[in-house]
Symmetry: C2
């Protein structure tokens, strides 16, 4: 990026303050424009740098050092417009370029330009999604896109209901609440006292921790969220699920909710939905599919099956367009096969906010069916992006991400001395160890895994300090630390995958 | 605004598609810039129109009509860059200008240019707030601003903890969860089974419905969220609170949580914190202050007392900078006097995401102390705005909003034939009836109130159809529909207040 001191406002403007521009000085529209145009210059430079492979992904500093490099203090008297421009440039100088083609660190990354344009517009429109009254176009867009997503989940979902939520964890919470409400309609008013027995829920031991968190928030307690064992690929074992259900039933408990994960966080595994759906039908339980991560593959004819086969049998589905689909953060959706549940579950009948005697058809007001009151507009960026790509473009995007991941697996297998592939992935999560020179001759064993695991944080630290590459690592319940590479950005190419492997070797061979 | 067809890309660019720009075509940086610059033109025109009193606030259409005016469909093949530009322009053409100086409709409005600039940058940086690793500068900013806000709440709050949440409802939920966890530390694992007796919570009958919603979500049931009667000003009556507590104790229930509202949604009332704090101390209950709306007045020496006197005695405080402070949506904060509670309450020890063996001091990672996993960056816009205004600028902003509201009250009192002031406000909520000609000679009575109430939806519909003014209305538990005017935008002036009153008369005198 350009030096932060390169961004100079004109002499007439630089010492002005916030109250010299709109909305304070209505005659100062051109000054406002100059300020915003200077900001845009900074943003466009950042976009350019993000897409430039010669630029570093990050300029790492430890928290204490970083605090010394920045002036973060809130002043008593406000700073000048020029200082604000400097603040913006400095912030981006030290920010990680999560959209850089060599950032493979998180499930959500990439910088989709159309989605970004959508978010700029969203900021400027600055409205709230609770009523048609103040967000007419956005509310209609939400309807169109949510209906389309439900059609993609299954043809029997068209007349269901959906909502955008601030992240997959809250989406999963919506599913839990709707399930409890559907099965125990008095719970809303009477609470736990209405139920004779302990409610129990089930999820795989590889599922996202937000499922367990629901049990804590909602009063079940995490001990009543049972972790069903998974197979060596990380997929829930249906017979184990059934065993645990029977076990709890024998204790007089009430199993009511199963979360099936489509795309686990670490290994990218897909639980077998159809087999789990059979069990849910047998015992009259709610089936939720947490496809926050893997949901994007619903858009691909090639990769949808067998991974997500049976998803149309679920009662609810979480699907985060801000992950595989590359929408800007945040953009998470929750879908229900049955209409009306969201409203009856969450409605508090706050007529002082959601009046019934309005000018227009109030079925378009969403405020009373959510657990938030005000809701950020997360739809526009997704709608614009989907208009740009079409279904066809999203399908190509999914197929491309999967092909790149397959390419990476192939390249890892071609270098067995340097890399150890932990398993054939089902999704874009590629799990592996990097093997430094001194361990290449050692046969693979639990002892070598321990050694390889110890190196992950060190190699990751080297990546960050060099600034050329970011790949995440973590332990799981079977292994010490290993690398989990994520390709979810449209910016990635085969040569970036080659770079990733050679750069890990360059930084780590002597470990 | 300019005609939507005025925004033309160059001939060479207009038919290009999303995959002709970054990140797909890295050589096409200039094409990307042209597309984004054209969008910026639309946004700057919208900002100009928002601040132009000759422009309408909205161009109202019923949902069915609106759908015919727009092309919202998701295509199979994506549309061109020119079509996307057109889509953006059309969206804003039909969007309500919530930042218009004559939009008095909602608690959050105004378009703060600096905060908007912050949100544009936030979009471009597109990161997630769960770790220092991928949001180093933003995490530090969050620390600085949250600490500053706690200092403003009370000097004994500096070593507490805070978090940004997606809206006041979720902030209140955080307070509830922390309170339950503090008092019943086994609840997290064991759930309701750990408690011998019914938990009960208390809030005023004027409080925001999200407090009741917590009782539903968390398993108490709304019947165990008791609505404490309020006085004629809308303030909780402490003796009634104590009566209800004793009543429930006598039944063997466990009163544990009181929500005190600082700035009620409709009337803008402030519950007497000190008296309620005395009761909470007496019975060992958690005191939460929901200052989502009124919290801004903490910044004003003139208006802070007596409204928020005693706030430093609370255990938790919700405060939404996106309301009175004018930060862009969403920006909501929750603060705790005690540090460590957020973490121990919400932590699920997801070591696969929040590793302990990192390069840097992990005390800066926030991911494991929130009920979301990923979290949108809501801090930058607030930090930048606070840098711009300083404490001093925010204080002036609060004082100005209050003075404008006092001006409105004065003007209403000067026209007793046309307006009926329901009560002297404590905040910027001005509650009143408009009196059309035929009712001016009728003495004020419950019968007249019914008549005046019936006119609110009609007059509101006229405002929306004319597009010149938006003021909200609602009933409450004592009155039929009445208007509640909100001044929370820095764009408003005395002449806008005069316009508001005369425009209501112009549109409504014949009703």
């Amino acid at each position: 990026m350009a030096n932060t001191s390169n961004y100079k406002l004109s002499a007439a403007v630089s010492n002005l303050k916030y109250d010299d521009i709109l909305p304070y000085k209505t005659q100062n529209g051109t000054v406002t424009n100059e300020f915003l145009q200077k900001l845009i210059e900074i943003l466009l430079d950042f976009v350019r740098a993000t897409n430039d492979r010669n630029e570093k992904i990050l300029d790492f500093h430890h928290p204490a050092e970083m605090q010394a490099l920045l002036d973060l203090a809130i002043p008593n008297k406000g700073v000048s417009l020029q200082q604000l421009i400097h603040d913006c440039a400095t912030t981006l100088k030290y920010q990680v370029k999560t959209g850089h083609p060599r950032f493979f660190n998180q499930l959500s990354c990439g910088l989709d330009i159309i989605s970004m344009a959508g978010e700029w517009l969203t900021a400027t429109a600055n409205t709230n999604m609770f009523t048609y009254e103040i967000a007419p176009v956005f509310i209609l867009m939400e309807n169109v896109v949510m209906t389309h997503m439900r059609e993609i989940i299954g043809s029997n979902w068209v007349n269901g209901d959906s909502i955008l939520a601030p992240g997959g964890s809250i989406s999963n919470l919506y599913a839990f609440l709707a399930a409890r409400h559907k099965m125990f309609p008095n719970y809303k008013e009477k609470g736990i006292a209405t139920i004779q027995g302990q409610l129990v829920m089930f999820t795989s031991d590889q599922s996202h921790y937000s499922v367990k968190s629901c049990a804590s928030i909602c009063g079940l307690g995490t001990d009543n969220c049972l972790m069903v064992p998974s197979d060596i690929h990380g997929r829930m074992i249906p017979s184990e699920l059934e065993r645990l259900i029977l076990d709890r039933k024998a204790k007089g408990h009430i199993p009511f909710f199963v979360c099936c994960t489509s795309g686990t966080t670490v290994l990218g595994a897909f639980d077998p939905i159809n087999e789990i759906a059979d069990i849910c039908e047998k015992y009259g339980m709610w089936l939720h599919v947490d496809a926050a991560w893997g949901g994007g593959l619903l858009l691909s004819k090639k990769y949808r099956h067998p991974r997500l086969s049976g998803v149309e049998r679920a009662d609810s589905v979480t699907w985060n367009p801000h992950k595989l689909m590359g929408a800007l953060l945040q953009c998470s959706t929750i879908h229900f096969k049955e209409d009306g549940l969201l409203m009856s579950c969450n409605q508090m009948s706050a007529d002082y906010l959601f009046m019934q005697d309005k000018l227009y058809d109030i079925k378009y007001d969403t405020g009373d069916k959510v657990i938030q009151c005000g809701r950020h507009n997360d739809i526009f960026k997704l709608w614009l992006q989907w208009r740009a790509k079409g279904d066809d473009g999203f399908e190509k995007h999914m197929d491309r991400l999967m092909e790149l991941s397959e390419y990476m697996v192939k390249r890892i297998k071609e270098q067995p001395d340097k890399f150890y592939l932990i398993m054939e992935p089902e999704l874009v999560n590629v799990s592996f160890w990097y093997i430094p020179t001194r361990l290449r001759k050692m046969p693979h064993s639990p002892a070598r895994e321990q050694e390889l695991g110890k190196m992950c944080p060190i190699l990751k630290a080297r990546m960050m300090q060099t600034g050329t590459l970011m790949v995440g690592y973590q332990p799981d319940d079977r292994r010490p630390n290993f690398f989990r590479n994520i390709i979810s950005s449209a910016a990635v190419t085969e040569s970036d995958v080659d770079f990733l492997l050679s750069e890990m070797d360059r930084l780590g061979h002597d470990l």
